[in-house]
């Protein structure tokens, strides 16, 4: 493990260059340029607000600013998760030429894909932060949880990305499975709704670690309360073990990448 980390540190320039390349290529020769980073989160927020509005019409309670804040806050990490997962799944096959022609640690590909999506995430979060300030959600000590939650999100996504990139190299249909799962995943994840709305069935959506992380973010940013520690520990477990496990699988499969691709 130490060896794997030190090898990655040695190739940090490369990680940086590939991330930069992925970002650059996405915005080259495109009509929308950096607006792309905001497009998907905006669509998700829009549909989330519509769903919330339907809920409120049904229940008779007016749609509150806090509801809209929750939806926008949670849409952003979800958009990151979707784009990073999709992008990293295809990262090895998309760089076929490099995989078969030049050696360096192959982890760099999915990791660069995740980092490039993170770049979009950072741009879009500027917009969301501005909105949250406008919506007067306020600040509290609880915000200190946020960096940890973001790290969990990134590590979980990176772990999943490595695993899927590897799987997609051996089995070409993994990419399509991922597309289907992330498209419908939004209904199984508390993005448009909150887990507590499900009452005693809440754990059903919290088993999904992304759901746990999104709920925790909602707790600390919108409701200014500390996250549920049991579920937080669960998410930490997923992020850490998932990342290490995927890395292990990835590096043991790495030897046969060039001939199996």
């Amino acid at each position: 493990m130490v060896k794997m980390v030190s090898e990655l540190v040695q190739y940090r320039d490369l990680l940086y260059m590939l991330t930069w390349r992925d970002i650059k290529i996405r915005y080259k020769q495109s009509v929308m340029g950096f607006l792309w980073a905001i497009l998907m989160p905006t669509l998700i927020v829009g549909s989330g607000i519509l769903v919330r509005f339907a809920f409120s019409m049904n229940s008779g309670q007016p749609l509150s600013m806090a509801d809209i804040a929750s939806v926008s806050l949670k849409s952003l990490p979800w958009a990151f998760f979707v784009s990073a997962t999709r992008f990293s799944t295809n990262s090895l096959l998309g760089n076929q030429n490099l995989v078969t022609k030049i050696y360096f640690p192959r982890e760099v590909f999915p990791l660069a894909a995740v980092l490039a999506s993170l770049f979009d995430f950072v741009i879009a979060s500027g917009v969301v932060v501005a909105f949250l300030v406008y919506a007067k959600v306020g600040v509290s000590v609880q915000l200190l949880w946020l960096p940890l939650l973001l790290l969990l999100l990134i590590f979980f996504t990176a772990g999943l990305g490595m695993f899927l990139a590897c799987a997609n190299l051996f089995y070409r249909d993994v990419k399509y499975l991922v597309d289907v799962f992330v498209t419908f995943g939004i209904f199984f994840t508390p993005v448009f709704y909150d887990a507590r709305m499900l009452g005693k069935w809440a754990p059903f959506v919290l088993i999904n670690p992304i759901g746990t992380i999104l709920e925790a973010m909602n707790d600390v940013v919108v409701f200014h309360r500390s996250p549920d520690f049991a579920w937080l520990a669960y998410a930490v477990g997923w992020a850490v073990l998932g990342f290490l496990g995927s890395w292990k699988i990835f590096s043991s499969a790495e030897a046969s990448f060039a001939e199996s691709i």
């Binding site: 650059k24 030429n97 030049i102 249909d173 499975l177 030897a255 046969s256």
Partner: protein, 400 residues
Amino acid sequence: MSEVAVEFDHVWKKFRRGEIHDSLRDLIPSLGRALFAKNKQKELQQQEFWAIQDVSFQIPRGKAMGVIGPNGAGKSTILKLLSGILRPNSGKATVRGRISAVIEVGAGFHPDLTGRENIYLNATILGMKRGEIDRKFDEIVAFSGIGDFIDTPVKRYSSGMYARLGFSVAAHVDPEVLLVDEVLSVGDMRFQERCLQKMHSIVESGTTVIFISHNLAAINTLCPNSIFLAHGQIQRMGPSEEVIQVYIGSVQDDDQVVAKDAPIWGIKLVDEKGEALNRLHPGGQGFLRFKLRSDLSLKDYLLGLIIQRASDGLTVCDYNLPLDSVSASPKPADGLQCTLRFDANLLRGAYTAQLHLYHFPSAKHLIRIRNAAFFSVEETISWDGVAHLSPVLTFGDNGQ
């Protein structure tokens, strides 16, 4: 001798013919097979074959080694094993020192990025640090001759420009061990010349180099030692000139099967006593004996003789001899016995002779036998060159 920089220790590598499972549907049967039939590393499964079989060699630090052989011999596989792209099924491939492998020029270029951006990207991929690239950037651009196009996306480049830029980046990486796969074949003649010079200076600067090429002359001048690889096995290893001769000799064996009803057959190189010959001395004579089909209207044909130096394919001579004088002679049914005599005024080296029949009314070759004969010339006077001019040194005023 100094320390070993590159070592191949009884390396075996197998590949698969045909398709492998690559959709999830195929996973279950393949897992089942894997469970029941333990895949033994050193045994071949159905459809598998050895790409590299028990190959061992060592290269001392600072030396260059050439690898030659026909297509599919496993040359590139050796480079991929050394660079870590592939791992051996058995045995060990070790490289000591910072390594850079150029398996394909311009691999890793992205078409949408400009030349400048691709230099940074590609150089990083090949293992350079940012500061180093900044320092060498101008040199790389100058060498490639891309000039003003450096800020144009490489998808707009001609394929020659693309390859030139690729080689320039690769040539400036400055590793301790350089693996190069057939990169001299890019660009125009002038650029190839520059590539060759660059390779020379890389070798002279003390870099350990493994060099794969079909350019035998380049191998011969760049690498003191070479490996001749065929069917994944080392056929010969040693001084480049010797290895190249063996390689060319093997090509000859494959080629010289000429069908019975061919216009020329039964070619033999002999001396004046009619004994088989493969070694000549300057000033000596070789006799190329062969049978010529006698039912042809020979006055329409020219017999061509080309002698080439084996190490680099240099054409030493190319003669076209008219055949009209034989038209009057009798026409034996089993072919006309011919003898072509030539002076071996050549310097030391290996040579091949090529014969062809040229039908000038139709401007076509009736037959072309590439490796009609193979011989080496031995002598001790000259240092280098092709033609033996019998120099004589005399002293005094009336030297003639």
